[in-house]
Symmetry: C2
Subunit: 672 residues, 2 copies
């Protein structure tokens, strides 16, 4: 139990490193007044959105905390819930502020060369990565320490810590889905009128929606994605701790998941240092080097720790199961990349089909999006079967073994988020360089940074969705243990379970449909506004007067918040309704069904969107008629369809299934 101290130490080190990197980024020059002006507009817009969102959500969090406290007669649970929400909010806020400071500084550093710009962009992303995993592990370890002194039964203590996870997840759902609606409203609005109707370039300062669009990249991708991955990370960790408590009743096994995460954090801090590139180097390779270095350091630390803990053959089993999860995660990311990579068959075929028109282009991207579910699903299946069999071989409880595989899969999350948050920073840097008229050489450098960001984003998205599925499977086992389903049997032939499976399976697609409809509704308003400004503001098209950026930011913000709440409540209310009316077995079936379709729709949408996006970029490189051709117009339509797929609905689904599983587990005592 004394070993528990490692967790707060490692996580505090992580937060301290994040602060250090934040100051490192800030020490760089933000460039010309023009560049500062654009960057400031983005930062102000992003913070305005976040502030508004947080105020709306604060009310929700308080209401929910009261419900939790009253319904389950536990003010500790309510406090943990609020702390979880706060932690995620703070980390997202901090990370996003680093990102919106890093963008102009990256563009400015690019004047001195690629090698100078990459660290600014990457360390800007690493602030998010390190602060968020630090907060997660710090919060969990401190709460567990306190509650294990209040409750003599570690299971009771962990049930309360689960409130922390629930708070983090509920907030992540809103951050991801709300941010997703925001960013796509702005993006579609800017593109449809600007690029398609008026033929002006992307990121053109004449476009009234351009600032909202740049804000959106930060709100949706940095803040949203950070919050999103973290919630799986926490849920998987606590699920493994719960299984450890239920199965082994021994402190070592309970705190092991926490320790593993702490090791992952240490590995991430060192791994991040591996990002370096020459003036003519390949930034993508540099990012991958950091990821692989982190994995290797983590594996070594894990092996040493397991030996130190003296768990005997069981230790070896846990080591292999954890590493199996880690490897499966890496493979998932890389294979998924095939379907969205610009130099592979799916993107080529989708771009080619744009020659026949938008419809065939859309059908092609959609189909490849579906086919992209094959590698991650096989990855999950192998991770499950491998860790199960390894567990049986080494005398580890197989449920615990699968949960440790899930913990291992996300252990190196710090580096993953860093690479992921790097994407929008590079994207914004490119936008700022273009809008402020930096030289061609600078634009080429940031363009290369941006391209590398798109690939890392695609890889980490595939990885994130697959990993989330495995975390929720661990949570599903934890739920079953929690409600004491007799001998852990959930029988598919029981009509109530079958009914639960059907209803659960229905939830993720329905949730994504609601989000997409929200984007469509909001984008419609945005398009009308952008058209109005071009019509009514004299001299706008000629660049003689300035558009009203703030109005567009406002439309995107208001719409996102209004459309968000009903779908969010659905995710908490439906599992509880199933539990109360059909019972705990049906709810288990419900969770199972939701995991299956959740991962399928999340992958399908994320990857179809990526394929369309890159097919468009491929044509813009001059293929199949190039920019302005009919094929290009068709590809732009495909890309627009893909926008809410890949940036709103797809990435919200992992959080949604996590929230549902947490709601089920936290409220379980009520329908027992």
């Amino acid at each position: 139990m004394d070993l528990l101290i490692i967790a707060p130490i490692a996580s505090s080190a992580s937060i301290a490193s994040a602060f250090y990197l934040y100051r490192y980024v800030n020490r760089h020059d933000a460039g010309s007044p023009k560049m500062r002006e654009i960057a400031d507009a983005i930062r102000v817009g992003a913070n305005a959105y976040l502030k508004r969102q947080n105020m709306a959500l604060a009310l929700f969090v308080v209401v929910m905390a009261i419900i939790l406290g009253v319904a389950l007669v536990s003010h500790h649970l309510a406090i943990a819930y609020i702390l979880g929400s706060l932690c995620t909010t703070l980390a997202a806020y901090f990370g996003m502020n680093a990102a919106v400071r890093a963008n102009a500084r990256t563009a400015n550093s690019a004047k001195k060369g690629l090698d100078k710009a990459l660290p600014v962009a990457y360390f800007g992303g690493a602030v998010m990565g390190l602060s968020i995993v630090g907060m997660a592990v710090l919060g969990t370890s401190i709460l567990y320490y306190i509650y294990s002194h209040i409750y003599p039964d570690p299971k009771m203590a962990l049930n309360t810590v689960l409130g922390f996870s629930f708070g983090a997840s509920a907030l992540a759902l809103f951050a991801k889905a709300g941010g997703g609606i925001y960013t796509k409203t702005a993006d579609i609005g800017a593109d449809l009128v600007g690029k398609v109707e008026l033929g002006i370039p992307e990121d053109d300062p004449r476009n009234p929606a351009v600032i909202a669009d740049n804000v959106g990249d930060n709100v949706g991708d940095v803040a949203g994605m950070g919050a999103d991955l973290t919630d799986s990370y926490i849920a998987g960790m606590i699920a493994a701790m719960l299984l450890g408590a239920a199965i082994y009743h021994e402190a070592k096994y309970i705190i092991l998941p926490l320790l593993v995460k702490a090791l992952g954090i240490v590995a991430s801090i060192f791994g991040i240092l591996f990002v370096r590139v020459g003036i003519r180097g390949n930034p993508g390779a540099a990012l991958n080097r950091a990821t692989f270095a982190t994995c290797i350091i983590f594996t070594i630390l894990l092996f040493l720790t397991v030996n130190f803990l003296n768990l005997g053959e069981r230790g070896l089993g846990i080591f292999f199961a954890t590493v199996a999860g880690l490897i499966a995660g890496v493979i998932m990311g890389i294979t998924t990349d095939f379907f969205t990579s610009i130099d592979r068959t799916p993107v080529f075929k989708t771009a080619e089909s744009a020659k026949t028109g938008a419809a065939i282009n859309i059908l092609s991207g959609f189909s490849y999006g579906i086919l992209s579910i094959i590698p991650p699903i096989i990855g999950i299946v192998i991770a499950i079967l491998a860790s199960w069999n390894i567990s049986l071989m080494f005398n580890v409880n197989p449920f615990y073994g699968i949960a440790m595989a899930a913990v291992g899969m996300l252990a190196t999350l710090g580096t993953v988020i860093a690479a992921d948050a790097y994407g929008p920073i590079a994207d914004n840097a490119k936008g700022i360089a273009e809008q402020s008229g930096l030289g061609e050489e600078v634009i080429e450098a940031v363009d290369r940074l941006d391209a590398a960001g798109n690939t890392t984003k695609a890889i980490s998205k595939g990885f994130a969705i697959g990993a989330a599925a495995l975390q929720v499977i661990a949570l599903f086992f934890a739920y079953a243990t929690e409600v004491g389903i007799p001998q852990m049997v959930i029988n598919l032939m029981d009509p109530k379970v079958l009914a639960g499976v059907f209803i659960g399976a229905m939830m993720p697609p329905v949730f994504s449909a609601l989000l997409i409809l929200a984007v469509g509704k909001n984008a419609h308003r945005m398009v009308e506004e952008v058209r109005r400004q071009f019509r009514e503001i004299p001299g706008l098209m000629e660049g003689k007067s300035k558009p009203d950026y703030a109005k567009c930011v406002d439309i995107a913000t208001k719409g996102a918040l209004r459309e968000l709440i009903p779908s969010g409540i659905l995710a908490i209310a439906v599992p509880l309704a199933v539990g109360f009316t059909l019972g705990k077995e049906a709810l288990a079936g419900f969770l199972g069904g939701s995991i299956v379709t959740g991962i399928i729709f999340a992958l399908l949408m994320a990857n179809a969107g990526g394929t369309w996006d890159n097919a468009k970029k491929y044509i813009e490189e001059g293929k199949f008629g190039g920019k302005g051709s009919d094929a290009h117009k068709a590809a732009v339509i495909g890309d627009t369809v893909g926008d809410p797929f890949k940036d709103t609905a797809g990435p919200s689904l992992n959080t949604m299934i996590t929230v549902m599983a947490l709601a089920a587990t936290v409220f379980a005592p009520l329908f027992l």
Copy 2:
């Protein structure tokens, strides 16, 4: 057991009625030489496709029969398999020939008024309806009679009869998927070049792909849909018989599903007579009257039969469970209609969003397509829970009760197919009336027939998919009984079962992606060909020379067959691979997973397609700018995306999950 004689008598009566209606249709005049010419081209094209398809499939059927015979050491099974394939082929062939004869005759009768034209179109569809259910029940009852004399154990006999179902399903899969690829290749090819690029009307005789398009309606919708629904019909019936044999070991319960189907046939024969309409009447209402009349007659006959069989309280339980299935089916059809109906919110909103461009139109239709899964899934859940609880109340085995609900849901299939096959007949009649320049009044009459057909088609599609899901659930129970899974427990917490669920859930989306890619590939060829003809044939655009119709028919045919085989083999090979490597429990999980995503993707695709289609039609009625406006162009893109969704991939999925469940059950002895 003597009661079994009712089944062959009723089904023979059904086939005889089909012959009578076929002659009734043929007695009508096919109209002017111009009309005959067009109708002949369609008939010749359709038969050419069917002949080619059947030749290709004959080889497949023989190979498969040999595999079955050798692997399971049963030549009876091989023979039953061949008979099942033959029965479906014959019924589809016969029904399609009635349809291609009814189209010109409907158009010609419309000269004398709507009241004269409706019976020709409807009875033309009824030929398909009555012949196909007749063949199904006749084949099943005779085979069961023979095999129950060869094998003393009724379960053994039924296992062999299952070969009949497997043959029918395998053929249905090819007919539906192949027909679906064919029809959409032609449709997209004709529309993209004709309507979009050149702005000539639909069904314009100058368009080289127009005959292929008309052929496609018959090949895909009549032959394909007929084969498709029948295979669920047979599978559900034999699954119930198998459960009856396994649970009750009593002849009464074994033959009851057959008897219920026979009653449904009798009710359909009488129900069809209710289709009558005045000269100014509403053809849609007339079609619905037939459906409701059939349901009422069926319910009365069922009540009398159950009483006659002297089953005591159990009889009442079976009666209620069966009727619960019937009612759930009707409700599913009607509620699903909401999402695709031209005068409801989803279609209106989707049409409205076309004003913002094609992308938002597509996103809207896609989202409503997803939301449309809610009513059928709730319908299935209620059907399962209701029949389960009714069964427990009346001392019926609940698995048998659910199977009887499935039998009841599809009992009135004769009328359902009749209304469904009516659709393409009316559609073709409209095409012929326009192409041969009949007067405005005639065109208006056939237009109203066509509109009614679109609604019945939408209703029966929703119904068909929901019903198929319940049949496969019955089959899933039959499989579990067959492989003797201990005490009928399939544990979701067993990692092998979980792995099976994931792999199974992956199958339907992957299958539909392969079909859509096939359509895209083939449509690409068709577009090139149609463009070539307009470019190279002098005077074609001016209507001075004739296009090469045959070339287009040929491209559609060849492509369909080439793309088809790999996906078909997948549907049989993967379940067997899962069974052999992961075992019978995993295979059960596999089937469960496939049912869940199968129904979700089938409904999503069928209904999104219907919504886009009707949104386009709504704009064509003059709303949001009407024909030729930007909104209309956007809606045409949405409609084109929807084409393979609703007519290729969506409707193939029910057959696909049935084939997988049958493959699992038939080959079960091998992995026991």
